[in-house]
């Protein structure tokens, strides 16, 4: 049995109970055994104890990332479940939901079982997301029941939109039967096909085919309409445009059961980051304009967007050191998400409690998994954050197998200095 851990003098942040105060938290037997304001009564503590001073730091429920690509099975040169969850732990995450676009696609209980087996040794909880359609081809429903029984928590054809509206409707209806969350990758492929960056002045100047914001917005509108019509819950992945958040805001006001995420790059960067064909700024959906970025930030603050997810998408030089049009989409995110998100707090846009809601409490609620709360009896999934720790985001220090980040060599502020998974330390700095 692990030695109990006492974290003292930390600022405890728990959006679920509204707790925000300096106090202590005791971890024993993998669970939160005790917590409170001020200092603990020494008599209540076990004799054998590891004490960690959290002065100046925030203690939060473990961060949960709703959207990562762990690349196993099939692309282990980019990432594995072991390396990806090590990156997660280093970034302060205790749980990740991994998308099904592996090779083969996670559209069968056999692939799910393979992921679950590797996940048993991992540095974070891994919640596999199954495919909506076989092979994510958008034609036939994947076996949601069998996938759920094997350990899948949600379904998505992430990376490929479900272009067939009837299939999307049936997927929404059928997912509920098996307790699965349906995650949409909103993209009208007939509008985005062959596009490689946001459509606008910069795509024209660079001679690159553009992806117009409406390609995302049309599909969001369709999926909101289907969610409203069927009455089923819908989660929208990687929302990136101003009109998209306006649509979601209106749908929520009407009572549509929709939740939505964005990624740190969409509130940190704009299409300007593509610069001179920098493939580290290539992802799908693409980086948008300054007005879109401002709208995404506002939506994080006002509750329209529910979660920050990284869309951690590792690629090696084989996929990225190419002509821009040939390079793969996606950037890694697990080890930069927290500092980039903390910038929203420093800007005064959101409170620390709202940050924890976006990075932990809401993701747990959306996915229907444990965690996201600081409460006695909850699993001891915890993140201790030094919000003022400055560091250079260096490639050599990454736990991920891949280096495809536009934030390399940036000075970032705020870092997870301790990550605890079920009472076990998975990261300490």
């Amino acid at each position: 049995m692990e030695t109990p851990i006492l974290i003292e003098n930390a600022r405890l942040l728990d959006p679920a109970s509204g707790l925000d105060g300096t106090g202590y938290l005791l971890v024993r037997d993998g669970e939160i055994a005790l917590l409170g304001n001020g200092a603990p009564a020494e008599a209540a503590l076990p004799a054998d104890l590891r004490r960690i001073d959290g002065s100046g730091c925030w203690l939060t429920p473990g961060l949960i990332d709703l959207h990562v690509h762990l690349r196993e099975p099939g692309d282990e040169h980019k990432e594995t479940i072991a390396s990806g969850t090590a990156a997660a732990a280093a970034g302060g995450f205790t749980a990740v939901a991994c998308m099904p676009n592996t090779r083969p696609v996670n559209d069968s209980p056999a692939v799910t079982a393979l992921i679950m087996a590797a996940a048993a040794q991992a540095c974070a909880r891994v919640y596999p997301v199954g495919a909506i359609s076989l092979g994510s081809k958008g034609e036939t429903l994947a076996p949601f029941g069998e996938l759920a029984r094997a350990g899948v928590r949600a379904v998505s054809d992430d990376g490929c939109p479900v272009s067939n509206s009837q299939l999307m409707r049936r997927a929404l209806e059928y997912a509920g039967d098996h307790g699965l969350l349906l995650i949409s990758h909103p993209e009208d492929e007939s509008l985005s096909r062959n596009g490689v960056m946001n459509e606008g002045d910069i795509s024209t100047r660079l001679g690159l085919r553009g992806i117009p914001p409406v390609a995302e917005e049309i599909m969001i509108y369709r999926d909101l309409a289907l969610a409203e019509y069927t009455g089923r819950p819908l989660h929208l992945a990687h929302v990136s445009t101003g009109e998209a958040v306006a649509l979601i805001r209106r749908a929520k006001a009407r009572g549509v059961k929709v939740t939505a995420e964005t990624a740190p790059h969409y509130f940190t960067l704009t299409e300007e980051a593509v610069g001179d064909y920098d493939t580290r700024a290539k992802m799908n959906p693409p980086l948008r304009g300054a007005a879109d970025r401002a709208a995404i930030k506002a939506a994080l603050a006002d509750g329209t967007l529910d979660a920050i997810a990284t869309d951690h998408a590792p690629h090696s030089g084989l996929e990225k050191d190419l002509e821009f049009e040939l390079a793969a989409n996606g950037i890694i995110g697990l080890e930069s998400s927290l500092p980039l998100s903390l910038a929203l707090v420093r800007e005064g846009l959101i409170t620390p409690l709202r940050l924890v809601e976006l990075l932990s409490t809401n993701p747990a609620r959306i996915l229907g998994v444990p965690g996201g709360r600081l409460a006695v009896g909850e699993p001891a999934d915890l993140t201790l954050i030094d919000p003022q720790r400055k560091f250079i985001f260096r490639a050599v220090e990454l736990k991920s197998r891949s280096r495809n980040s536009p934030f390399l060599d940036w000075e970032l502020e705020g870092k997870a200095i301790l990550t605890v998974l079920a009472g076990r330390i998975t990261h300490r700095q």
Partner: protein
């Protein structure tokens, strides 16, 4: 002659990177080289011992030959690699191709590629100078320079001219380089074509987007029409080439709206009877073959300025 201060560039990736005085300097140099091609012995020793590689990943007759003739008239050793015979078809990446070429110590690589930005990627991984001979829908700087030279020959001065560029602006690297180049040299550039082939951001590049071909051509000093590609019918961007010819082609009736002394340009190859009336292509206003002649002089100037100017 020392050109290092007037022309500090190692690569020619696009007109976006060149300032107006530098463009002017290239044109002056090209004008002074034009006479070499009219001699009976068409060769000067300026680039003797220099190695120039034509690396063409896309088919090209005019541009590749023009660069090769330019290099040979300057006494450089030239080598041609075309996509069919290149290691690209064997799956070699651009970066590996660059490293392998670099290992053979060339002085200049002239590259044409279907992917925008490829010349810059090559330049990052090779010590030699790189000249962009057309990359995707990005830029075609030597074409715009030869167009500028041709207009200057016929009009004397570029500043103050009205230049109409008609056709597929979205996919045309020629249009992009010309919009940048003519704007930098003080001309007013107007573009027109089917709305499906006018991308966003053209105004940001310096052009006025006209709602019709007629409006773009009215009082123009220069009318440049672009090749329309067959495959644009599939995207779907156009109903048919026939419809294009009727509504966007340059005809005698349209050209009558331009200034009486207006010249007609086309980067070639022409789809006769589609974007340009055959009679106009061969008529007195057409400077299309002057463009080809000046192409050699402009490319001699570029090779000289980036390799021989020390």
């Amino acid at each position: 002659m020392s050109s290092g201060q007037l022309f500090p560039h190692k690569h020619i990736l696009g007109l976006a990177q060149l300032r107006a005085p530098e463009i002017d300097f290239i044109l002056q140099t090209a004008e002074s080289f034009k006479e070499i091609s009219q001699r009976s012995i068409k060769k000067v020793p300026t680039l003797r011992g220099k190695t120039v590689i034509n690396l063409f990943f896309e088919p090209s007759t005019r541009t590749r030959l023009s660069f090769e003739i330019a290099a040979k008239r300057m006494s450089a050793d030239t080598f041609n690699i075309s996509s069919a015979g290149s290691s690209a078809v064997k799956g070699e990446t651009m970066v590996d191709t660059a490293r392998n070429l670099a290992a053979m110590n060339p002085d200049c690589i002239i590259i044409r590629h279907s992917r925008s930005g490829s010349p810059g990627l090559l330049a990052c991984h090779i010590g030699a100078s790189v000249i962009n001979a057309g990359d995707g829908a990005h830029e075609h700087p030597s074409q715009a320079l030869l167009d500028l030279m041709t207009v200057r020959e016929h009009k004397g001065e570029i500043a103050g001219l009205k230049v109409a560029i008609i056709g597929d602006i979205t996919h045309s690297r020629v249009a992009h380089s010309n919009i940048i180049g003519f704007s930098k040299m003080g001309a007013q550039v107007r573009v027109a074509g089917p709305a499906t082939l006018i991308p966003p951001g053209i105004a940001a590049m310096g052009a006025v987007v006209c709602p019709s071909v007629r409006e773009a051509v009215r009082d123009a000093d220069v009318v440049m029409t672009l090749r329309i590609q067959q495959e644009r019918q599939l995207d779907p961007l156009l109903p048919s080439l026939r419809e294009y010819a009727i509504f966007y082609g340059i005809t005698p009736e349209i050209i009558a709206l331009a200034r009486p002394d207006a010249i007609i340009m086309h980067p070639g190859p022409i789809n006769r009877g589609v974007e340009l009336d055959p009679g106009l292509a061969d008529g007195p206003r057409s400077v299309i073959l002057d463009q080809v002649t000046n192409g050699v002089a402009v490319r001699m100037a570029l090779l000289y300025l980036i390799m021989g100017g020390e």
